[in-house]
Amino acid sequence: MGRLVEHPILDVKSSTSKTHVVFYFEGQPICALPSDTIASALIANGIDIFGFTEHNHARGFFCAIGKCSSCLVEVDGIPNVRSCITPVRDGINVRRQEGRGKPKW
């Protein structure tokens, strides 16, 4: 899945920034727009499995508004981060969350 190139209402062309942000997903560099959330950047790069439940079912993008907890990822070791409402930042390390989050102390 890529990004929209045109839209009947939204002005997609002029809102597409020329600058980029690079972060890491499972160690692989991902190129994102500065206005992306982690989830939108992953989807735009063809990644739709964000993690697994404790019963090993794949999880991903669902409600897109921070409610459903389907898109939880680990960001720099911090679990339970809702990728759909968390903006991308340069250099962050995003990993798939498996089951419940691991505590960090």
């Binding site: 679990p79 339970n80 505590p103 102390w105």
Partner: protein, 384 residues
């Protein structure tokens, strides 16, 4: 008087842990003509709102004995009652941040050990070695009892209710008791919004409403209800087995089987009265305090926040027994925030008192309301 809808030997007012466990205990002793009246749904009062801790580390001999009997019964809950209530003996870690309180803890441990309870005294260094995720700054001393633990209060109530029903008890939910019929100084029936029920005995197990229900028979009980708040976080992997509690630090916290952290604190400024609202003040105070003591909480979000009532007695110990003013009026109230954990032992004893006229497993005579007639009352010190 409304239409007569039935007749039971024992009518219990309140569908919380006490009401349902008592119905179960009565049935166990062969008394199956039992009805429970609950004005809302089962465990809708204090039981369903509580933290679910079960501990034996008390400051008086009698309370330790009562709690130890309760734990014996909780240990066999699954076989005896037939429900898995997420009972887990992960221990209770009592943290003291106060020199004087620490001395009291050492005295308590002596009493607890005399009763045969296995309790450890831990230095701050030992605590941080065992539990590296706890910040032990300012900690003076901790005590730990592995046999303490926690369970799911909703499941316990449902378990007791189902077992009691199987043995013949009736449970009326959404049935409010409006009056208790007393004739010639003896209880003869209860009037509810679903009709009138004849009975030989009434048990007040109404938790937060104990005082008002007791006024229906004209007996004054020295109880007052105070709001206590709790919140629960999103889940993490299970790694925190025990209930951590502090009286001087004013908090308790445990991790539920599904991974969420449930925690609460008391508020000295709380006014008596039934109030189920929640406050931002509570959230702010508790989050600031707990993140400092348990740094792994820093990145967790609060999922839900609710409140429940402590039905307080003057000495912070339950009021259990039989009225000597009105015949066949029993009460099991004023648990002061620890009703869930002692309910199995209390209701076993109370059922014995009702059916046999005497207790055989645990002595509960020290919990009779008459103790407040004496000027000197030994207050239980171990309460949040």
């Amino acid at each position: 008087m409304s239409e007569v809808k039935g007749a039971y030997n024992v009518c219990i007012i309140g569908g919380g842990i006490t009401g349902t466990a008592l119905a179960y205990s009565l049935c166990n002793l062969g008394e199956t003509s039992v009805a429970v009246f609950e004005k809302s749904y089962l465990s809708s009062g204090s039981t369903g709102r509580c933290g679910g801790g079960i501990r034996q580390q008390w400051s008086t001999k009698n309370n330790v004995r009562l709690a130890m009997r309760s734990v014996e019964l909780f240990e066999h809950f699954k076989e005896d009652v037939g429900t898995d209530i997420e009972y887990y003996q992960g221990g209770y870690l009592m943290l003291s941040y106060d020199e004087e309180e620490a001395k009291q803890f050492e005295k308590n441990v002596e009493i607890q050990r005399e009763e045969g309870l296995d309790v450890e005294i831990l230095t701050p260094k030992q605590v941080s070695e065992r539990y590296p995720y706890i910040n032990t700054e300012d900690l003076v001393l901790a005590t730990f009892c592995q046999k303490d633990g926690h369970a799911n209060p909703h499941k316990a109530v449902i378990g007791y209710a189902q077992a009691a029903r199987r043995m013949g008890a009736r449970i009326y939910t959404h049935t409010e008791v409006l009056g208790i019929d007393v004739q010639n100084g003896k209880v003869v029936g209860v009037d509810t919004n679903q009709g009138y029920f004849k009975c030989d005995a009434v048990v007040n197990a109404s938790g937060p409403w104990s005082k008002q229900v007791s006024q229906l028979v004209g007996v004054d009980l020295p109880t007052e209800s105070y709001r206590h708040q709790i919140f629960v976080t999103e889940p993490l992997e299970n790694f925190f087995p025990m209930m951590a509690i502090s009286f001087a630090g004013n908090f308790y916290m445990r991790q539920a089987q599904h991974g969420q952290f449930i925690m609460g604190q008391g508020d000295k400024d709380e006014k008596p009265g039934i109030n189920y609202n929640v406050t931002f003040k509570f959230e702010k105070e508790l989050t600031v305090k707990m993140v400092k003591l348990f740094p792994f909480l820093r990145n967790l979000r609060i999922m839900r926040h609710w409140s429940g009532m402590y039905n307080m007695s003057p000495d912070a110990q339950p009021i259990i027994g039989q009225s000597n003013i009105v015949n066949n009026y029993f009460y099991a109230v004023g648990y002061s925030g620890h009703g869930f954990m002692v309910a199995p032992a209390v209701t076993e004893a109370l059922a014995e008192l009702i059916v046999l006229g005497k207790t055989t497993h645990t002595d509960i005579s020290y919990l009779n309301v008459d103790r407040f007639a004496n000027a000197e009352v030994e207050k239980e010190k171990n309460v949040v």
